[in-house]
């Protein structure tokens, strides 16, 4: 994986290795010079001049080594970031491609830890493996060779010392990897928890949940801390043991050299050199130990990154072949026996799709009117009793340019129906056809360019108004840039002109994350502006059910009228006004179509559900 990302930077990698070699050579040279110096000074044979030359050479070697080291660090750092940024981008792209089911099961906090934290580990992996581990490994090897050249017995001592140290590290390596994997999991869980509750305070507090949140927080925090303490303890014990080994090695070197010196086979300079060299072994070996630890951590991260890369989206896989291109003009939509169940979530008690569809809770009064043939009044999923399928055998056709109003209670499958249109999920049975082409034969990008969605909840980013409205399309080289004039025109036509002029930096004004500071109506209008800028041919509108005042609603109504003109539309309607704008009506119940037909015909037929709905007062029922 790393190699793939390093390939574009081959030249700099080569330079890095070259500099690394130079740095090691200079580090090995220093003690040699010191040894000569000691011999010259103690032996009395060296003139003052010779001593000065040796000392000056030593000085120069030290300085040169430092400069090279600095360049090395710069290169490593730069390469580390460049490669991991590329990897991070690819991973984010990959994760975005994954199915909604994947995202439903994971909090953003957890994924941030995967993408940013784990990939950050990989940056460390690069800098430690390439620069430090290799550099220090070579330094150790170089020292050992030079020590062997000076005295083979001391060489054996050094070698034994180095081997024992490395064995010690290897012995704990597997344990460390396991611990780091667990720490990382605990960390992701903890951060996910914190993220979830720090954004949900408005719902936790009035309901008195604060004490429960705190109670769940303690074990998460302490469990995480305990795992890290275990890891650290292991590290500290190993470090202390290596101190002791070092002391033994230095003492052995001193003893052996002392014997050789007394026997007259070794000069005092060489004794000095050997003690110095063996002492020099400690620092790179310690670095190797530390780096092995971070490599263990990094490897854990790399493994999780790999796991993430292995996951493949089910949606879209079929479309990789010869992707069909959708023709121009408003498309015809046809559902043919569509059945669908969510397979990605832990079964919930009521079988409802999680999170969404929260704002269209039904009042008790609507029970009789919509629920006439299911006397138990239970949740729709319980009705069929077949499986947890959300949609059963849905079949209908919508002619080009017509607008379909979808009505139904909470949990009847309205939102799921729209999700299928975007291939956020693929159908389990049956097919959805656009202009006679199966959606699964259409590339995802192609499909989503032609279908626009306005949801009740508007996702706004902490980015400029421009980027929010174009959804970063101007960063995409494959797309034509959207000019500011177009954006301003879209905003003006939606009645947001005064709002735009009130912004301090116009289109460059940064919006706050999650649309803080915008009213619900403004957010809705911004969502419409987005769709206008995309100019899709099929519009899916999950109408905001409430939360808007009459004046803003007037603005919205006019905007929706214009949006639907000349386009095929599917509207999940909550208001009479919106329903009246539709050409066809489809009523869902328990994931089945219970009524479908032209609106005018249904409204005129006293036997239809739609007729009864209109009599009951649609708005009360559907709001």
């Amino acid at each position: 994986m790393l190699r793939h990302y390093l390939r574009p930077h081959r030249g700099r990698v080569a330079l890095l290795f070259l500099l690394l070699g130079g740095s090691i050579a200079l580090q090995l040279l220093g003690p040699q010079l010191l040894g000569r110096f000691v011999d010259a000074a103690a032996g009395g044979d060296g003139s003052a001049n010779r001593l000065t030359v040796i000392a000056a050479l030593f000085f120069a070697a030290v300085l040169a080594q430092k400069v090279i080291h600095l360049v090395t660090v710069y290169l490593t750092e730069d390469l580390g970031w460049a490669t991991t940024n590329a990897l991070r981008g690819d991973l984010t792209a990959h994760v975005l491609r994954l199915d909604m089911g994947f995202h439903k099961l994971r909090t953003p906090g957890e994924l941030i830890e995967r993408i940013d934290g784990d990939v950050g580990q990989l940056a460390e992996y690069f800098s430690t493996i390439v620069v430090n581990l290799l550099g220090n490994g070579l330094l150790v090897a170089g020292i050992l060779v030079l020590v062997f050249v000076a005295d083979w017995r001391v060489g054996l001592v050094g070698l034994t010392y180095a081997l024992i140290m490395l064995t010690l590290f290897r012995a704990i390596q597997a344990r460390m990897v396991r611990l780091y994997t667990r720490i990382s999991q605990a960390s992701a869980e903890l951060l996910g928890f914190l993220e979830e509750y720090m954004t949900g305070t408005e719902d936790v507090l009035p309901n008195g949940g604060a004490a429960y949140v705190m109670r769940r927080l303690y074990p998460l925090l302490n469990g995480h801390a305990a795992l890290r303490t275990r890891t650290y303890t292991l590290t500290v014990v190993v470090r202390s043991a290596s101190w002791l080994l070092y002391a033994a090695a230095v003492a052995a070197t001193m003893g052996l050299s002392a014997l050789a010196f007394r026997a007259g086979t070794m000069s005092i300079g060489t004794v000095f050199l050997l003690v110095f060299y063996v002492g020099l072994l400690e620092s790179p070996l310690d670095a190797v130990r530390r780096e092995l630890a971070s490599i263990q951590r990094a490897l854990a991260g790399v493994n999780r990154t790999r796991e993430l890369f292995v996951l493949q989206p089910e949606v879209g896989a079929a479309a990789t072949g010869a992707a069909a291109i959708l023709a121009g003009g408003p498309p015809a939509v046809r559902f043919e026996g569509v059945t669908f169940a969510y397979k990605d979530r832990p079964p919930t008690a009521d079988g409802r799709p999680p999170q969404e569809e929260t704002s269209d809770e039904l009042r008790a009064t609507s029970e009789e009117s919509l629920n006439s043939d299911t006397s138990d009044g239970g949740r729709p999923s319980a009705v069929g009793g077949l499986s947890d399928a959300v949609l059963h055998d849905i079949a209908f056709a919508l002619a080009p340019g017509r607008v379909l109003g979808v009505l139904g209670r909470t949990g009847s499958g309205k939102t799921t129906l729209t999700r299928l249109l975007f291939r956020l999920y693929d159908v389990d049975a049956g097919a959805i056809m656009l202009d006679g082409v199966d959606l699964r034969a259409v590339g995802l990008g192609e499909l989503r360019r032609h279908v626009g969605l306005v949801t009740q909840d508007v996702q706004l980013f902490a980015a400029s108004v421009r980027d929010n409205l174009t959804l970063f399309a101007n960063y995409d080289p494959a797309r034509p840039a959207i000019a500011d004039v177009q954006i301003v025109a879209a905003l003006e036509s939606l009645g947001l002109g005064p709002w735009l002029r009130g912004l301090p930096d116009g289109l460059d004004t940064l919006l706050e994350s999650g649309g803080k500071g915008l009213s619900a109506g403004e957010a809705q209008l911004l969502a419409l502006a987005r769709v206008f800028l995309r100019d899709p041919r099929l519009v899916v509108l999950d109408e905001a059910s409430s939360r808007l005042d009459p004046a803003t609603e007037g603005l919205l109504e006019r905007a929706i009228d214009r949006l639907l003109a000349g386009r095929t539309g599917i509207v999940i309607a909550h208001r009479l006004r919106t329903v009246q704008r539709t050409d066809d009506i489809l009523i869902l119940e328990g994931g089945r179509v219970v009524e479908h037909g032209p609106r005018a015909a249904l409204a005129a037929d006293p036997g239809s559900r739609f007729y009864r709905l209109l009599q009951t007062g649609l708005e009360e029922v559907l709001v």
């Binding site: 984010t92 720090m198 719902d203 008195g208």
Partner: protein, 506 residues
């Protein structure tokens, strides 16, 4: 009927900043024994590094005959190993103490964060994006939790430094003086460097926050991104943010290495200077090979002290930034709450939550709101007055304590809900009374203050300068805090987010 007027707590803005040292002291005192172990053993372990140097010196001196062979090489080497054995053992305690200080403080500060977030006026949005907040909770909390462990390290190193210089000065004061000068230079180099480092560090953190913040947004709104086929554009934007972070990160780390490597070089420069000067001294016999060994050993270790001292000084300034960043996460709580002591239940002994048992006395008989005002600044208007709230409100319970008052209620105060201008929204001087069992509809245009009114009633807005009165008819608990009223009001919001696994008491 009793009435009590309660001045709410002063706003956080008026509270003093938490100084780095006060914060550190609070962390040290939280589990003082961990720190005591860290400090006491630190001084012993780091200070005792003087002994191996002395032993090597004696070794070379006895070997070359510069000193009488009184101890013998064997004894010296056994001593050497023995001392290191002792140091290695004590080191476990030293590092472990430091780790526990770090670990416990990490937990404490995160607990404090969550407690503060849960205590903040809930309707106030998180002042930073959640991804950014996560980043701060991870890195900044880690930094500050680690900070107390600097002290034992610096004290231990200082101990070594002082005695090493004293020992060297007794051997040769002139060479010592020349050798120590570059070491002192390290300190000043690091001191000057920290200003820039701080600048770079801040830039890196901001760039990092942007990356994680944006990542959180596109992952949180993945459906919107997918549906709009905005993956490529969003990814390019993400790449641009990443690239900005790379530049900041490379600049910071290269600079860090530069100043660090100057520090390290100065140690080697000092050794080189000693080598230059020692030549004559050794030839003249005023200095032995053992002395040279001692100088080289001591100088290589001693240079860490001024270098780390320089970093430590920058770290102090850095902690100021860290504390400010942490306080930004919960601006309504006093800064001292970041390090406030509270149980963290390390042994998994957190007590169960006791659900309040409610009797008839807890019933909200009448909600009386008098002159309630809450204004907030509109979006995108920087510099506009942030918030000003005043007013008084009462929660009252009738004497009869029954629920038969089912008459429709009208809120007949014309000034109840006012849209002030395009700039400021909120509620101003709202006054009304709602009896128990009544059903009231609040309606109005977008931005007219419907939600703000509800939030104010639920106690979800910061109670800045708001006077509140909790009135009860049974004579109990007059003038209680505003928040209890919230327990008796149950919200049914337009778009509830129900976090997983959350139990409710109301």
């Amino acid at each position: 009927m009793t009435t009590g007027i309660l001045k709410s707590a002063k706003s956080a803005q008026s509270a003093d900043k938490l100084s780095v040292w006060r914060g550190t002291w609070a962390l040290i005192r939280f589990r003082p024994w961990y720190f005591a172990a860290n400090l006491g053993l630190g001084v012993v372990v780091l200070g005792s590094e003087l002994i191996p140097g002395l032993i090597s010196r004696r070794f070379f001196d006895e070997l070359t005959g510069a000193a009488p062979a009184t101890l013998g090489i064997g004894t010296l080497l056994a001593l050497f190993v023995g001392v290191q054995l002792g140091r290695a053992t004590l080191n476990i305690g030293y590092e472990w103490g430091g780790w526990l200080v770090r670990s416990v403080n990490n937990v404490l500060m995160r607990v404090n964060f969550m407690a503060n977030i849960l205590a903040k006026p809930a309707a106030r949005p998180m002042p930073v994006e959640s991804g950014d907040a996560i980043h701060r909770l991870d890195r900044d909390v880690g930094d500050f939790a680690d900070f107390p462990t600097w002290l034992p390290q610096m004290i231990g190193q200082g101990f070594f430094f002082t005695f090493a210089i004293a020992i060297m000065a007794r051997i040769n004061p002139w060479i010592t003086l020349v050798a120590v000068l570059p070491l002192l230079a390290v300190f000043f180099i690091n001191r000057v460097a920290w200003r820039r480092f701080l600048l770079y560090d801040r830039a890196t953190r901001v760039a990092s926050s942007r990356v994680t913040g944006f990542l959180g947004e596109i992952l949180g709104g993945v459906q919107a991104v997918k549906v709009a086929d905005a993956e490529t554009g969003a990814l390019r934007y993400f790449d641009a943010l990443s690239e900005a972070r790379r530049r900041a990160g490379v600049r910071q780390n290269t600079f860090l290495t530069l100043s660090f490597s100057i520090g390290q070089s100065m140690g080697d420069v000092a050794v080189a200077l000693v080598v230059l000067l020692a030549g004559q001294a050794i030839q003249s016999g005023s200095m032995t090979i053992g002395d040279l060994t001692l100088f080289v050993t001591y100088l290589t270790i001693a240079v860490h002290f001024p270098a780390d001292m320089g970093s430590f000084m920058s770290e102090i300034a850095q902690q100021r930034v860290v504390l400010d960043r942490l306080h930004e996460l919960h601006p309504d709580a006093p800064p001292a709450s970041i390090v406030a002591h509270r149980p963290i239940y390390e042994k998994g002994d957190a007590p169960a939550v006791i659900s309040p048992v409610k009797g008839t006395a807890d019933r909200l008989e009448r909600l009386e709101v008098v002159g309630l005002t809450y204004l907030h600044a509109a979006q995108g208007r920087e510099g506009a007055t942030s918030e000003a709230a005043s007013g008084e409100w009462r929660v009252a319970s009738g004497d009869n304590g029954t629920t038969d008052d089912q008459r429709p209620t009208t809120i007949d105060d014309s000034s109840l809900i006012t849209r002030h201008s395009s700039l400021v929204t909120g509620i101003s001087d709202a006054t009304f009374t709602l009896p128990r069992g009544s059903f009231t509809v609040i309606t109005g245009r977008v931005g007219s203050g419907k939600t703000t009114l509800l939030r104010a009633l639920l106690g979800l807005l910061p109670p800045q300068e708001r006077r509140g009165a909790l009135e009860r008819g049974d004579g109990g608990r007059p003038g209680g805090p505003l928040r209890p009223a919230a327990r008796r009001l149950h919200p049914a919001g337009a778009a509830p987010v129900q976090p997983g696994g959350c139990a409710t008491t109301s």
